[in-house]
């Protein structure tokens, strides 16, 4: 049985109104995981709509009921019962990319070097993307805070 209080789970929360598009989050993520300054290797991606001047980010929500976990045929993706963070075990992954298709945000991506899926692992509790974000556009928050923010920002309703 899960020991996790869903509302208190630590997740990443992105506020597009604070983002500058500097991509230090991607730089830090790729270096932390691959020791490379390679934006393509980052586990999150910030997109900038040049026409409207708006930002958005695709990043793992460490879902309560992750579709990537449900879709994986090899049980290579596991949601940690204590922390709620969803991680890929590269020793079990066969690189079928079903998780990429199943995820609404296509967060798990296929690493061509290792032929396995890779994704955000919450940096063992100290997410580098949040740590290096100057305007704190991406930060660590509770699931409850993320619900409230996203409902207000995207649905314009209060939770």
């Amino acid at each position: 049985m899960s020991q996790l209080n869903v509302e208190e789970q630590k997740v990443l929360l992105y506020d597009p109104s604070r983002c500058t598009g500097c991509l230090f989050c991607e730089v830090a993520c790729s270096y932390y995981h691959f020791k490379r300054f390679d934006l393509d290797k980052a586990h999150l991606h910030v997109q900038f709509d040049e026409k409207n001047g708006e930002f958005e980010a695709a990043y793992c929500q460490h879902c309560d009921e992750p579709l990537c976990v449900a879709a994986c045929p090899k049980e290579a993706i596991v949601k940690d019962e204590k922390t709620g963070w969803v991680k890929v075990n590269p020793m079990k992954c066969v690189g079928c990319q079903t998780c990429t298709v199943a995820c609404p945000l296509s967060v798990p991506w296929f690493n061509m070097d290792f032929h396995v899926a890779v994704k955000c692992d919450f940096c063992d509790g100290d997410p580098q993307c949040a740590k290096f974000c100057s305007p704190q556009a991406i930060k660590v928050a509770t699931r409850r805070e993320a619900w409230e923010f996203n409902a207000k920002h995207y649905l314009e309703v209060d939770v």
Binding site: L23, F37, F48, E50
Partner: protein, 292 residues
């Protein structure tokens, strides 16, 4: 007289000395005493150096902070990157006793120790809070009639006092307004100039960060870009040259806020050595002032 330990950083004295000249002139005029921080090193750079070795980066920052502590002064930075590095390190060292102890163990090998008594201020904070807008405005003898677009720079949004990331950018805007410039709102003020992503992907940095900003500034009629951060200045100046190889022609002058203040205070443009810029700042100033 307000007194600070001046942290010049690397880029300003080495690559953009006209900003240092202008800053010293502005300090004299406004009665801000900036004591040189002798023996300082790189701050170090706020992201890559911390990623490579966080403890080493913190120790380098702490050593710089001890130099200000020796003088009994708070530290003043002219660069956004230096500000974030030193303020971030200062926060960690002041509030995390374990980290401070670890770093002081390293510093003691070099005969130094940081007690956490220094505050770090960005130049826009010092100008806004210590001098004030009225104090600045009364020295403006040559208002500059330039249509200018502001670029704040990402590290200026780093906040420790409030959650309002526009606190320092708004200060910068209000200070710039005192010089008489006609401020152009172009809608992409917050967008990064591309300097950080340049290290990872040059084409992306130039075409998807610098180019949208420059295009929007030009379409809104800006004659010049006002920056405060030397890294952003380098990106705007060198980046415009690099964009030519991708088929985009820009030649917009990029002037630092301190240079703008110095000019509006009547400091002769020749004294500022604006010819050291890699964008046509000198030509713009000569045109505006009607001098050759």
């Amino acid at each position: 007289m307000v007194k600070y330990a001046l942290f010049l950083g690397c880029q300003i004295p080495m690559r953009l000395p006209s900003i240092e000249i202008a800053s010293r002139r502005v300090f004299n005029i406004l009665g801000l005493e900036a004591v040189d921080l002798l023996g300082y090193s790189c701050c170090p750079e706020p992201v890559v150096s911390r990623l490579l070795d966080e403890t080493a980066a913190l120790a380098v920052s702490a050593r710089n902070l001890t130099l200000a502590e020796d003088l009994g002064l708070d530290m003043l930075t002219l660069c956004n990157g230096c500000y974030e590095t030193l303020a971030e390190a200062n926060e960690a060292l002041k509030h995390d006793a374990e980290r401070r102890s670890e770093v002081n163990t390293i510093l003691r090998r070099y005969g130094r120790e940081y007690a956490g008594k220094v505050d770090v201020k960005h130049i826009v904070e010092a100008l806004y809070e210590d001098v004030g807008l009225n104090g600045i405005r009364k020295h403006v003898t040559k208002p500059l009639k330039i249509r200018a677009a502001l670029h704040y720079g990402c590290h200026l949004y780093r906040e420790y006092k409030t959650s309002d990331i526009m606190r320092k950018p708004n200060m910068m805007r209000e200070i710039a307004m005192q010089t008489g410039v006609d401020m152009i709102d172009y809608g992409l003020e917050r967008l990064c100039c591309g300097y950080p992503s340049m290290q990872a992907n040059e084409e992306f940095s130039l075409k998807h960060r610098l180019l949208p900003k420059l295009s929007r500034m030009r379409s809104k009629g800006a004659e010049a870009i006002i920056t405060i951060c030397p890294a952003c200045t380098i990106q705007f100046e060198i980046g415009q040259v690099m964009l030519r190889s991708y088929g985009f022609q820009f030649n917009m002058p990029c002037i630092n806020l301190m240079e703008l203040l110095a000019l509006s205070f009547g400091v002769p443009h020749r004294d500022l050595h604006l010819e050291l810029h890699r964008s046509p700042v000198q030509q713009l100033v000569q045109k505006v002032l009607g001098v050759s």
